[in-house]
């Protein structure tokens, strides 16, 4: 009997209010979809990025890698190969090669005999057959290409191909393929001696791949090897490389995942709001069932089942939506969702069953959780009282307690002060969740507080005063209506403030650093401008001053992405650098370096402290200053050109900032600079003017926040949907009240005006409270989440226009939806409405 009653009640409720359930399910769907999509896209991008890394690395047991593109002394190879625990060692030269049409193809210079033992996937197989000639992997012009590389270079086995790397162009013959390289991965292999002699790398190698002896302990081998390594070499294994590629985009990815979870949380509030209304409306029915012998537990199960059904629909829809969204986002924004961490080609989308299950469970949990709380309330009501009274479960005369919100807010502030966990701002997110919960818990009290002055001093406008009194009299209903608005407004405003602050900071910073008239850059891997070329560029007519720089990726830890070492003239002018804090004179004998803000945070060093860098031969380095940088999230280190040259012997430069002579035209000087570049760099030198760079940087910024804008839009929609759902639910629940009002002579228009006022008041109170809460949360985002995940700081900027328009829009929308709902409720005949009594 109870089962039948349950089914009947659920079916009846849904038949009567399909829209409300649909909105709740949709809110869950949106949260699940966003979370799942972000996860899918990132998972696919990481998998493809990881595969690219594994392709080039050939899956050696252990690797010794040069800390920078300058490589390491090849003599290390002989010492390492004979170290204890090492079964074999394969030296590698890595070239960032380009085909004549500009397609990038990583090319490895290998000793094929060693690679056959250590990294068999990188071994070329000669095509045999007429026209291919005999086979010789040692020939200095022999090139082996993977299938993807053959396709990219548009050549076939037997063809000649001119490849350019490190500033040298050499014609090679495609002698065969690399059959063990995974599909879609570009890779080339040539003889290591050819890579050194033809591409300007004599005496240097970039990597030593190691095969450990059977039974050798990797830990012991690592220890033994570490003693052999010079400062410019570092040990790593597959785990380190995975960690490195993971670390590259981890913070960005986790942030997006967190935002998705926040959307899910909002959905959960929506479920809570609709379910508490639905419970409140059915209190009498429940009470009747209770008197008929139904257990409390069964009642809770009923409401929870309703929530679960909504959750089921929402989660399934969310997973489908999420997959579609991921496919779309991947095609539109690329595998990093516009973050700029991975290559250009969109990777194939990989379905993740585990993640699908997890997000499905989260969706279900949000829906059931949002239902169980109101169900507990409903079950607690004494059946006899509830049977007579369909009013608010909260006593309007009781002062809402402020204990719970205060404790939650206190905990939130405490969490915000915690350091990052596992390099992620996990406590920051906890703080946001706690603040959000505190804000919502405080809503009944805040609503009373805000409405109290209005209630004490009636305005004389009948409909408005009635609305104020109604809201004061039903704090429970008001609170549940408000929670959705507050949650979504707060999150949206918080994100908007964060993005505005960030964009403003980047814009200002760009103005500071783009102090030249013209910028010149050679492609990475092209070898750059040698001193002769630098001289030629400096002599170009119209160039008043030219400042060259060299950027070299520098690996400081095997499991961390490389930082950028920037060799440039720093002192005394510190052009195009904005220091945070003051400059410090380094101690005598120490070489000064200037850390970017992310570098300083990652290394945990501040101005005046010494720092260890994998450079030179045991020199001491000291931090002379920390500069603002929003461009290189993984950190950058500036060093004087002269110090860099002395330690590395590298005289080449890859970029320059040009100050034009008065009257010189940027366009003509730009052409002259390209013409004056060495022939080997033809087609690999670009110039740009500051305005273009600035536009480019801001476009990149907007692209990387595109997903955030999307989430903001979703938050607004969820907020409005919440307003619509709650107000319409309340209006329908109050059919009898409206009938009564009509009986005592209140006009239809006055009732509508009352409803409109109620909606407007709810919208205003909710959005204002949401904005205030959003400001608090934005401070957590700006001062906790951002520094902890991206290692940069900024000052707060308020998007005042947006904040005002959100408040206005929500007020108007709430008022409009309340009136729309009221029209439907009022269409019921007044007499029948009053009679609808038990």
């Amino acid at each position: 009997m109870a089962d039948a009653a349950l089914r009947w009640m659920i079916a009846g409720e849904w038949r009567q209010h399909p829209g409300r359930i649909a909105v709740a399910a949709l809110a869950i769907a949106v949260g699940v979809a966003l979370g799942f999509a972000v996860h899918l896209v990132n998972g696919s991008a990481l998998a493809s990025f990881g595969q690219a890394i594994r392709t080039v690395n050939g899956a050696a047991d252990l690797q010794i890698t040069a800390t920078s593109a300058l490589g390491m002394d090849e003599a290390l190879y002989g010492r390492v190969a004979l170290a204890a625990g090492v079964a074999d060692a394969s030296p590698v030269v890595m070239l960032k090669a380009k085909s004549p049409s500009g397609e990038a193809i990583p090319v490895l210079g290998l000793d094929v005999i060693r690679a056959a033992n250590v990294t068999p996937t990188t071994i070329g197989v000669s095509a045999s057959g007429p026209g291919t000639g005999a086979t010789d992997p040692f020939a200095s012009d022999a090139l082996f290409l993977s299938r993807a590389a053959l396709a990219a270079a548009r050549v076939r086995v037997g063809d000649s191909l001119a490849i350019t790397a490190n500033g040298h162009t050499q014609t090679m013959v495609v002698r065969g393929t690399l059959p063990a390289v995974a599909d879609g991965q570009r890779l080339g292999a040539i003889d290591i001696a050819a890579s050194q002699s033809l591409f300007g790398r004599l005496g240097r190698i970039d990597r030593i791949d190691l095969k450990l002896a059977d039974g050798a302990q990797p830990g012991a081998a690592r220890l033994a090897l570490a003693r052999l390594l010079p400062p410019d070499a570092i040990l790593s294994d597959g785990d380190d490389q995975t960690a490195q590629s993971d670390a590259l985009s981890r913070a960005y990815r986790v942030n997006l995942d967190m935002l998705a979870l926040v959307a899910l949380l909002t959905g959960s509030f929506l479920v809570y709001a609709t379910q508490s209304l639905s419970v409140a409306r059915r209190l009498q029915a429940f009470a009747l069932l209770r008197t008929l012998g139904m257990q409390k537990r069964a009642l809770i199960a009923l409401v929870a089942t309703e929530g679960a059904l909504a959750g089921l629909a929402g989660s399934v829809l969310g997973l489908l939506l999420g997959y579609g969204l991921a496919a779309g986002a991947m095609a539109l924004l690329g595998g990093d969702l516009g973050g700029g961490y991975f290559g250009d080609a969109p990777p194939p989308l990989i379905f993740a069953p585990g993640a699908a299950l997890a997000f499905f469970a989260l969706g279900m949990a949000a829906a059931i959780g949002g239902s169980v709380l109101p169900a507990l309330d409903g079950a607690r009501a004494a059946p006899a009282v509830a049977l007579k009274n369909a009013g608010d479960a909260l006593d309007p005369r009781a002062r809402p307690g402020l204990m719970v919100p205060l404790v939650l807010a206190g905990l939130g502030i405490g969490a915000a002060l915690m350091p990052a966990a596992a390099r992620l701002p996990l406590f920051g997110y906890l703080a946001i969740a706690l603040l959000l919960a505190a804000g919502i818990a405080a809503m009944p009290g805040v609503a009373r507080l805000l409405l109290a002055p209005l209630a004490r001093r009636p305005s004389g406008a009948f409909a408005f005063d009635l609305a104020v009194q109604h809201l004061r009299g039903t704090p429970g209903a008001a609170a549940s209506a408000l929670s959705g608005i507050v949650a979504s407004t707060a999150l949206m405003i918080a994100m908007a403030i964060m993005v505005t602050s960030f964009r403003g900071a980047v814009d200002e910073w760009l103005g500071d650093i783009l102090s030249g008239d013209l910028y010149l850059r050679s492609d990475p891997g092209s070898g750059g401008f040698d001193p002769a070329a630098q001289g030629a560029l400096a002599r170009v007519k119209g160039v008043e001053r030219i400042m060259f720089s060299r950027t070299v990726p520098l690996v400081l830890a095997a499991d961390q992405p490389p930082m950028q070492l920037i060799a440039r003239p720093v002192m005394p002018a510190m052009e195009a650098m904005t220091l945070i804090g003051s400059a410090v004179r380094p101690p005598r004998g120490a070489i000064p370096v200037w850390l970017s803000e992310p570098a300083a945070r990652i290394l945990g060093r501040s101005a005046g402290q010494s720092v260890r860098l994998p450079l030179g031969h045991g020199e001491h380095f000291a931090v002379a200053g920390v500069w603002r940088d929003y461009a290189r999230q993984q950190g950058a280190i500036a060093i004087e050109s002269s110090d860099y040259e002395r330690m590395s012997g590298d005289l080449a430069r890859d970029a320059a900032m040009v100050v034009l002579a008065p009257g010189a035209s940027a366009d003509s000087v730009s052409r002259a600079l390209i013409a004056a570049s060495p022939p080997a760099l033809q087609g690999q030198v670009q110039t740009a003017q500051p305005a273009v760079l600035r536009r480019f940087a801001l476009t990149l910024f907007d692209r990387s926040f595109a997903i955030t804008y999307l989430l903001e839009a979703v938050a607004i929609i969820v907020g409005l949907a919440g307003v619509a759902a709650t107000t319409s639910a309340q209006a329908l629940a109050r059919t009898r009240e409206f009938g009564m009002l009509r009986h005592i002579g209140v006009s239809r228009g006055q009732v509508l005006a009352m409803l409109g006022s109620e909606g407007a008041l709810l919208g205003l109170v909710g959005s204002m409270a949401g904005v205030l809460l959003g400001i608090a949360i934005s401070q957590v985002l700006i001062h906790v989440v951002n520094p902890q995940s991206f290692n940069w700081t900024m000052s707060t900027r308020f998007p005042l226009g947006l904040m005002a328009s959100v408040i206005a829009a929500l007020t108007v929308a709430a008022s409009a939806t309340a009136m729309l709902a009221g029209r439907r409720a009022l269409s019921v005949d007044a007499v029948r409405a009053v009679r609808a009594d038990w």
Binding site: E74, G78, D111, I113, R114, D136, A139, D191, A193, L202
Partner: protein, 355 residues
């Protein structure tokens, strides 16, 4: 004698392009050999090897065959390439153990380009290394080798008991119809072996006899040759016999030769017509499908008359499939003959050799 591994070396150097041509010295008659200098490498020649085969017995009296070989190859890479990695000289090593109790051969191989202290073949005296594998001639004239291979370890000393035996015409050994198809070739037969052979924790000291073949050349097989049969036998009376035939694809003999050194030291050089090898028993490898004449009757014509030697293998399966490291499939096995023992090498049976 020419050996299977040379094929890899030759295949590797088969073609090269843009670099200036590498000029290899041509082998011609009339060379004067000098020792110990000629035990060392002759890096200007295209191919060279140090090839030790031997039969030993442990304290339990059970016999084992072993093979330790180092090859040196000069590749035709640009001699002006300044890279220390330039593959101007490449070294190969192959080691094998034949134990009738195991039923099949155990073997391991290595290769490396010379340099970085990891691999090299010294000039002036024998000293060839690839990582920790080494064959070296000590000041007292004794050769030693220590090889830790996959599954077994050889730690052996070889003491020459006779002067070097110059093969062919005073060390000039023809391989084909053209005079340039030849090598410089000497052997050290009847070397006394002592040392240890371990297989895991089992094994112990061994003693027996070995044969060292030394050969270097720049030009090898005639293009019509498919492979060869070769044998080197130490007799109990102190005499030694080396014989080979180079086969065409149809199995007929393209060239043959050898030498017989009597117990007293007198050497009889065998001309192509003085040597014949006739298969007596064939064995088909279940792994590769190749069929080898693993038992043969060797007939040589000496001034005093014709002598026949029945060559009986220790076991049928002494096939080496070294394709993994780019080497060919061949059969290299310990054999016995009445009054002596040695090694028989059979190449070109799985597929014709291309050189």
């Amino acid at each position: 004698m020419k050996r299977a591994h040379a094929i890899m070396a030759l295949a590797l150097m088969a073609a090269t392009s843009a670099a200036p041509p590498v000029v290899y010295p041509v082998v011609s008659p009339g060379r004067t050999f000098a020792f110990p200098a000629d035990h060392g490498a002759h890096p200007e020649y295209r191919t060279e090897w140090w090839y030790v085969t031997g039969i030993v017995a442990g304290v339990d009296g059970k016999r084992l065959g072993f093979q330790v070989t180092f090859f040196r190859s000069r590749l035709p890479v640009d001699p002006n390439n300044a890279s220390a990695f330039a593959a101007k000289q490449v070294l190969f090593a192959h080691v094998a153990l034949s134990d009738p109790a195991t039923g099949h051969i155990l073997h391991d191989e290595r290769a490396a380009r010379a340099g970085f202290g990891l691999a090299g073949a010294k000039v002036g005296d024998a000293d060839i290394t690839i990582r920790d594998w080494r064959l070296v001639r000590l000041a007292d004239g004794q050769f030693t080798t220590r090889i830790a291979a996959k599954g077994f370890t050889l730690d052996l000393a070889f003491t020459p008991s006779q002067p070097p035996l110059l093969e062919g015409q005073g060390g000039y050994s023809r391989k084909g119809p053209k005079p340039s198809e030849a090598s410089y070739y000497y052997s050290l037969p009847q070397m006394r072996v002592s040392g240890t052979i371990m297989r895991g924790k089992a094994g112990g000291s061994v003693s027996g006899k070995a044969w060292l073949d030394r050969e270097w050349s720049s030009s090898y097989l005639n293009p019509v040759a498919a492979g060869w049969d070769w044998t080197g036998l130490n007799f109990d009376d102190g005499s030694a016999l080396m014989a080979f035939r180079i086969r065409r694809r149809d199995g007929s003999t393209l060239w043959a030769g050898g030498s017989f050194r009597r117990a007293g030291g007198a050497v009889v050089v065998l001309a192509p017509g003085d040597v014949s090898l006739v298969p007596m028993r064939r064995w088909t490898s279940p792994r590769t499908g190749a069929t080898y004449p693993i038992a043969q009757t060797l007939t040589i014509r000496l001034p005093e008359g014709v002598r026949r030697f029945a060559l009986t293998p220790f076991m049928a399966d002494q096939e080496l499939d070294a394709r993994r490291s780019g080497l060919p499939i061949y059969w290299e096995g310990a054999v016995t003959t009445p009054g002596g023992s040695g090694y028989l090498e059979l190449t070109g049976y799985a597929a014709p050799m291309k050189m």
